[in-house]
Amino acid sequence: MDNGQKWIAFSTIVRREIHRFLRIWPQTLVPPIITIVLYFVIFGRLIGSRIGEMSELPYIQFVAPGLIMMSVITNSYSNVVSSFYGSKFQRNIEELLVSPTPNWIILLGYVVGGMSRGLGVGAMATLLSLYFADFSLHSLPITIGIVLMTSLMFSLAGLINAIFAGSFDDISIIPTFVLTPLIYLGGVFYSIDMLGDFWGSVSLINPILYMVNAFRYGMVGITDINVVWSFSMVALFSVVLFGLALRLLEKGSRLRS
């Protein structure tokens, strides 16, 4: 395949992925928006007004970046895991496997599809947050940079989950038992300064903490973690996950007999 053909193959996968989540928008776009509105109403307005300030910010301003990041993470991940596993289950992944499309194009196609949904829902969550809180954006490059890298990383993680998954149960185990606890313990709702030295240090092994803090820094200018360190961690995780996902595709693990 020449580069022009590779571009066509890549854009076909991306277009198909975007078309898929738009076609089933009541399942893919509406629930995250309802969830985010509920979070803003309950944690931002009802409870937040009694909490007062967190890290010298009104609680709703503190929590909003984390909630936006949460929607980006869960939607990037769930789009790729459900789409790729669905293709495995229906065996239409074979359409790609018999074609000359290189594995790295397949990988990028699915990941960009996942990022499209993650970033799309993230953008809608951001617009909603403007209704509940006032923001003056601290740094656009940091905000955009970290949200792109986070979406990339969780799209890659979703693909790896889908490759290993043998049933629909397997694609809900990681989001339920790993992703959700990491998000909740990743500084979305509180500052790690509140945890004390020991639990604060334990929190540092949670990669979501770095993403949420870097994003919060980009939006409102406060963070518990050094932003350079945050970017480095997310970049490192992304490179490792990309390498692993590509290796699994090259080997045909759980895809080719």
Binding site: T12, Q90, N92, L97
Partner: protein, 315 residues
Amino acid sequence: MKQTIEPALAISQLSKTYEDGFQALKGIDLNVAPGDFFALLGPNGAGKSTTIGIICSLVRKTAGSVRVFGHDIDKDFSTAKQFVGVVPQEFNFNQFEKPIDILINQAGYYGIPAGVAYERAEKYLKQLALWDKRDTASRTLSGGMKRRLMIARALIHKPKLLVLDEPTAGVDIELRRSMWEFLKEINRQGTTIILTTHYLEEAESLCRNIAIIDHGQIVKNTSIRELLKQLNKETFLLDTREELAGCPVVEGYPLTLIDSNSMEVAIEKSQSVNGLFTALTEQGIHILSMRNKTNRLEELFFDLVEKNLQEKKNG
């Protein structure tokens, strides 16, 4: 200078052992000439689908090599895959997508621009009588339509080698025959076709050459004509005008009464059918029609597979 024509498919010492230890292929060799219409026959579990899976890279081979028009599927996979179109046994398209989208997406995976893809999709969907269904969810198509959709999908990148794994399974006779005509036309236009089927009549009607695979080994690889020459005996069914009170006796022709108006007879290749007819007419029995009891290829197929089984039992 003499120019060498590369085989459409050249398989050498191909082996496959699955993770559970099952040896599906035991070092098979197979060559298919360009432009051929080739049948790959064998009982269930013989290794046909594994062979096809390896050709289209859905199954990883354990050893051996596969070349498609001279291009190794490992070393030159991109070119090799451009040459192959595959119609699998099971439906393997997204049941929620529309036929037109399935075809255009498939073309995209081969690097074909959307405009060209649409023109080809229209051509094949029309040829396969699916154009009216192009915008319906493919899950709502009938079984025969789904099979035709998979054929259209396999042809969208204009492969030089088309591999069909039981393409007419579960398809009614009328549709099967229209699919045969379509495949014959594709073959006439230069596409090499490899077909696996359980309908031996299909193989006899469509294919010029044949390989019979059993227990992971090729037990026969020849032309259909040569294979049929090996048939020493054929069993015929005879319908009579007169009602028969008992089974007539004709020396040299072992007749069996089926019902009061039909008989069965096995005739050696060296025997003349005229002799039987003459003898029956002398007994006042007139034959209205005569037909093969089973497909001729079927008889040979069972003979070969049975022989292979006996050889295995005898060590």
